[in-house]
Amino acid sequence: MMTSKKRKVRWGFFVFFVPVFLWLFFLIVLPQIELLRMSLVGTDYYGDSGFTLRHYGAFFSEPIYWLTFVRTAGYALLVTFVVITIALPVAFYITKVVRPRASGLLLIFILIPFWVSELVRVYGWMILLRESGVLNHFLTGVGLLDKPVEMLYNDVTMVMGLVYTTMLFMIVPIIGVMESLDDSLIEAAHDLGAGKITIWRTIIIPYCMPGIMSGSIIVFMLVLGSYLTPNLMGGKNSLWFTEQIYNQMIVYFNWNQGAAFGFLLLLLSSAIIWAALKVTGQDWKKVIT
């Protein structure tokens, strides 16, 4: 009896585990291993291929590469902070201020734009913001501007676009945590003498920290790895690290260098997240679940 029961449980486990394992192995682990191999292999003057670290070395010796990375990571952090500062009040409004029925509706309003692909949404912004776009047309029509201004292709617009495309991934986890925040905690803090800002600083934000951190990880990784938005809205002046990888692989056909950059992106972004978790004192497991 016992053994047959045990066997049954095992079968159930395999039915669910095997597809996941195959998926992870063939589509994620295997290509990564190949990329890792590629990044460590190079051909010398004589055309012989062998182990080398020079692709990784290139990242550190050529300022353009590591500066692009620093710039990308810096902007990713900036975007994450902007998203947090917008998402917190929005989540608070949805969970605590409006009536429960309205909060469901508001959440749907936030979700709807994400049914449309990122490309279409970015083009939507471009239609609004470009020199012959809707906003310029309106502003010149009203008389606020003498002649149309180019609002695209600068860092401010790019950051705005990135904030817009990643907002949802911050709001949803924060709402998840904030919903379990008992209103009486806020009232108790108020009763004990705390003003509005103090309540945010000492009660709401610390309570929502797991949600903020998991949202931040998603947003940070998405922004760091995003290609479309910085490319289309940032224009040629705003170099993004993903564009470097793209250039290496597609333009220069240097897959080995591109693979090395890809791995550096993975390692450095993981390091940044690890450091952020350490600094904020959050438990890794708590943030993930």
Binding site: D182, S184, L185, E187, A188, A189, H190, D191, L192, G193, A194, G195, T198, T202, I203, P206, Y207, M209
Partner: protein, 388 residues
């Protein structure tokens, strides 16, 4: 003695609904004052107005003779212990208690001193470093109260803080709270729907029903001389018999009529209460009757009823009853019976001497009570809980 809290004509309306209707009361400094009422009677609304979370529609709240009308909750000298305590889970015990002191910008040294001394006073020294989820229910309770007491409020408000605890612990915490209040001397305003909590702990109790105070008094006053039908039914256990009340001694309509002289003291007259079994019983007191046979309810406490009284005790009202059940509950054992010719149920407290252990279901008994221990009120239907 100075009034710590003084409330005048306080009213709160939510749209058409009046939650609190012109309530006035004073609480003397250092007293334990309870507001007792069934759920939905407006007691939480009243408490939240005192704490400052609701703005009164009308009326005034004064704390230590200072008008509180435009003072926000964070600046009022009152603190509230929440029903579910609302301890901050992201802070340890020490930081929870220090929260209010830090908001007052007290120096670290003072904060540390005060927090440690209050932890000592609530009997939890060495617990400062613990996380909130490491505490037991009773410990959380004490920390929640300590968090407020450390601020030395003029009035401490408590919103049914024992409601979430299990029965044994609740009994224990009742006594603890009373002792704590006596020790610190802070004025407590405690709201509850549990009459035993209110009676055991309080110096004064206000009984609240649908937004109004029915009676304010000491627990003894409420128990022995209720001012309304509601109080008679809500405070303590009571037997209710619908009767038709008439003035005068009443020529004997039945044998239940107690014999004897008129009221010994000058504090009332005799009335006769006719019950559906055809008997009428003597009631002492003063009632304002429009005529004869006015619909009233007669209340007799279970412990005021004597089983099989001696024939010698002529002044007692007597009633024949049939035993329906023997409800054994140790010291609170009761008999459940029905009067012969009536369909109400009566409960009678059994004495502790096991004299009546022989009583079985279906036995016929005579019960008796003193005319002065019964009290009548105009008939009124009150719902204390929702029927399932």
């Amino acid at each position: 003695m100075q009034n710590a809290l003084s409330v005048r004509n306080l009213t709160k309306r939510f749209g058409e609904f009046t939650a609190v209707n012109s309530v006035s009361f004073d609480v003397e400094d250092g007293k334990f004052f309870s507001i007792l009422g069934p759920s939905g009677c407006g007691k939480t609304t009243l408490l939240r107005m005192i704490a400052g979370f609701y703005e009164p529609t009308e009326g005034m709240i004064k704390i230590r003779d200072k008008d509180m009308t435009d003072v926000p909750p964070n600046l009022r000298p009152v603190n509230l212990v929440f029903q579910h305590l609302a301890l901050f889970p992201m802070m340890n015990v020490f930081e929870n208690i220090a929260f209010g002191l830090r908001r007052r910008k007290e120096p670290d040294r003072v904060v540390k001193e005060k927090v440690n001394s209050i932890l000592e006073r609530v009997g939890l020294p060495e617990h400062g470093e613990k996380k909130i989820n490491q505490l037991s229910g009773g410990q959380k309770q004490r920390i929640a109260i300590a968090r407020c007491l450390v601020l030395e409020p003029s009035v401490l408000l408590l919103d049914e803080p024992l409601g979430a605890l299990d029965a044994k612990l609740r009994e224990h915490m009742k006594v603890e709270l009373k002792k704590l209040q006596a020790m610190v001397g802070t004025t407590f305003v405690y709201i509850t729907h549990d009459q035993s909590e209110a009676m055991v702990m309080s110096d004064h109790v206000a009984v609240m029903n649908s937004g109004q105070f029915e009676q304010i008094g000491t627990p003894q006053e409420l128990y022995y001389s209720p001012a309304s039908s509601f109080v008679a039914q809500f405070v303590g256990n009571n037997n209710k018999l619908p009767v038709l009340l008439s003035k005068g001694d009443g020529s004997a309509k039945g044998e239940g009529q107690a014999k004897g002289d008129g009221p010994a003291e000058s504090d009332g007259e005799w009335y006769s209460a006719g019950y559906e079994n055809g008997m009428s019983y003597r009631v002492g007191g003063t009632y304002d009757l429009a005529g004869d046979d006015v619909e009233y309810d007669m209340f007799i406490r279970p412990e005021a009823i004597v089983i099989n009284p001696d024939d010698g005790e002529a002044e007692l009202n007597r009633m024949e009853c049939v035993v329906k059940a023997f409800l054994f509950d140790g010291g609170n054992s009761q008999l459940l019976m029905t009067p012969q010719g009536g369909h109400q149920e009566l409960t009678v407290t059994l004495p502790q001497n096991r004299r009546y252990d022989h009583i079985r279901r279906g036995d016929h008994l005579t019960i008796g009570w003193h005319p002065g221990s019964a009290v009548c009120f105009p008939r009124m239907e009150v719902k204390f809980y929702d029927d399932i």
